[in-house]
């Protein structure tokens, strides 16, 4: 059985922690425990929040004691199936044109690569969606190629536009809303990751994402299509367990 520890986060939440690193195997355990607890519909559990390597479980302590909850978690851990989760594969169009990628030149300079190399290296991998957080629908996707790994900006920007694709250390994010940000903006995605009207997120933890470079003209066409409601991105495929 996977090692884990349970940490208190006040009297209405606890944290099940699987390790101290960003790792797809640990993340798979987090998601499996999250699905297991949700499926078990345990009275008193109010919400589970999966993150990179830990799961926060919110509960009502007047209905379910902390020790009873720990017992339920132990039970789930004994039967944990990390290969049964269902995910989707997405191809997200991204425009890496300097017009919408304010830090692309700077990233090239900092990494001693050409702009073209930065784009190639960033769009090459299939990314794993570890978690959603910070803003509605904001997916943390990894891993960015080691040669593109940069610390955050010394001086965070007060505002970046919605749809900005940015990198910091091993992670890529598309920021779904206009927001202050200390990451390096290297592109823009025309597809909204958060649907305000229906309050739904495009991506889910465990999904796989490829970034498909598009020209500024294609970007504008896609943006128009989205704003007119004529365009909706569908996943490329569905998978069970570890994705290809």
């Amino acid at each position: 059985m996977l090692e884990y520890r349970v940490l208190p986060a006040g009297d209405t939440a606890l944290v099940v922690e699987f390790g101290d690193r960003i790792d797809q195997k640990l993340n798979a355990a987090v998601l499996a425990l999250s699905h297991g607890l949700d499926a078990a519909q345990i009275p008193g559990i109010t919400e589970t929040i999966p993150t990179f390597r830990s799961l926060m479980v919110h509960y009502e302590p007047l209905e379910l004691t902390a020790s009873a909850l720990v017992g339920q978690i132990e039970k789930q851990m004994h039967n944990l199936n990390t290969s049964a989760s269902v995910g989707h594969v997405w191809h997200l169009p991204v425009c890496y044109d300097p017009d919408v990628a304010i830090d692309l030149d700077d990233v090239a300079r900092r990494t001693s690569l050409t702009v073209q190399q930065v784009v190639e290296r960033h769009s090459a991998p299939t990314y794993h969606v570890y978690m959603l957080g910070f803003l509605p629908g904001q997916a943390y996707m990894g891993e960015v190629a080691p040669e593109l790994s940069l610390d955050r900006l010394e001086n965070p920007r007060t505002q970046i536009p919605a749809g900005s694709l940015a990198i910091a250390s091993a992670m890529s994010c598309v920021f779904p809303l206009e927001t202050p940000c200390g990451w390096h903006v290297i592109g823009r995605c025309p597809i909204p990751l958060w649907d305000h009207g229906r309050a739904t997120a495009l991506l889910a933890p465990g999904d796989k994402v490829r970034f498909i470079p598009v020209s500024i003209r294609e970007f504008e066409t896609l943006t128009t299509g989205v704003s007119q409601g004529a365009l909706r991105l569908e996943p490329i495929s569905e998978f069970v367990g570890a994705a290809a």
């Binding site: 006040g10 004691t65 957080g133 509605p136």
Partner: protein, 347 residues
């Protein structure tokens, strides 16, 4: 005829809040909701609303607004403030109204709320509530996520907040007595989840210190100023989920208590978490005040939560009818209105 409150001046930061939208944090959606849910509930009870109806949450400096409904019943619960009802928009002086009570206002009158004293928050409820479409089950304003409330932001001058009722029900006014809303000087916390990022001496320092609520504090977090807390394993952790009341310690060593609008995830170690029973109280704590932290156990925290649930039930028993004084206020308002009418005619 419209039925609305028309915002003349918005105050420092006035937002529509209810008990927030729990259940969607896994999507990155902040829970939000009133900083002091007890005052929210009491304000709603005074006007006969369900305790979780959306109200206006005022921070530090209150708004002024015009009543654009036949009449409306309002209530004010929270920090002390000068609250006046003016006969019309250009009136200079009005009738003072005390907080912790309901009051009936009429079309054309202006409600003016001044600066708050002895607390950070004041809640203004209106009978029937605001006609605002809930988002994910809540009308709370999520400014960072730009959703809920009035256009996903704090109120600005010119906003027109639609009301469900065009007139108040015909009944006497209520006040609430013996509800202690004093901001705390000490709150209880449970250690963790990342107390292992701090040496024992640093945890002791945290409990022995008195902190001041810093000027950068807002609905997301209360920035404390005082004795810095050193980390023993660095100040970056792999981002994980944040609970309401988490006390995170960034690189500066100055703790931040995360409040209702905190982001769902974050990357600083959290030395302790304020217990749920003390969250409404810490929500009232204004900038500049002093606060200390006391360690407690899960057993004590749950007992305190149980007691708070009983106390909240008791609030309804603290609500008292105030027939005669209300009749006097109404008469005075009428008088005030007539007098200003005369003034206007003369001008």
């Amino acid at each position: 005829m419209t039925t609305a409150l028309r915002i003349i001046t918005p105050g420092l930061s006035t937002t529509v809040q209810d008990l927030g939208r729990p259940g969607f944090q896994r999507l990155g959606v902040t829970v939000g909701g009133a900083l002091d849910p007890i005052s929210l509930g009491a304000a709603n009870s005074l006007v006969g609303n369900p305790v979780n109806a959306g109200v206006l949450e005022v921070l530090y400096v209150g708004p002024s607004f015009l009543v654009d409904a036949d009449n409306a019943r309002l209530s004010f619960v929270g920090a002390d403030a000068e609250i006046e009802i003016l006969a019309h928009a250009s009136a200079q002086n009005g009738e003072a109204v005390s907080s912790m009570r309901s009051v009936r206002v009429r079309r054309g009158q202006v409600v003016r709320v001044g600066s708050l004293r002895n607390g950070a928050t004041l809640y203004i409820a209106v009978e029937g509530g605001f006609a605002i479409e809930p988002m994910l089950g809540s009308v709370s304003t999520d400014s960072r996520g730009r959703m809920g409330g009035w256009r996903g932001r704090a109120l600005i001058s010119g906003d027109v907040l639609p009301l469900h009722r065009s007139a108040a029900t015909d009944r006497d006014e209520y006040r609430i007595e013996g509800l202690d809303l004093a901001p705390p000087c000490r709150v209880r916390v449970m250690c963790g989840p990342q107390s292992d990022y701090f040496a024992k001496t640093e945890i002791e320092r945290f409990f022995a210190s008195e902190y001041m609520v810093g000027a950068g504090s807002n609905r997301m977090g209360m920035r404390l100023e005082g004795s810095p807390i050193q980390h023993c394993r660095g100040f970056n952790i792999i981002s994980d989920a944040i609970a309401n009341g988490s006390v995170q310690v960034p690189g500066s060593g100055q703790p931040i208590v995360l409040l209702a609008d905190h982001q769902t995830t974050g990357g600083y170690p959290k030395i302790a978490t304020v217990i749920s029973a003390d969250l409404p109280a810490i929500g009232r704590l204004p900038i500049g005040s002093k606060i200390s932290f006391t360690p407690t156990t899960i057993e004590e925290a749950v007992a305190a939560r149980r007691k708070l649930a009983v106390d909240i039930e008791e609030i309804n028993r603290k609500i008292i009818q105030i027939t005669p004084p209300n009749a006097v206020v109404a008469a005075r308002l009428l008088e005030c209105n007539l007098i200003s009418g005369v003034y206007n005619a003369a001008a």
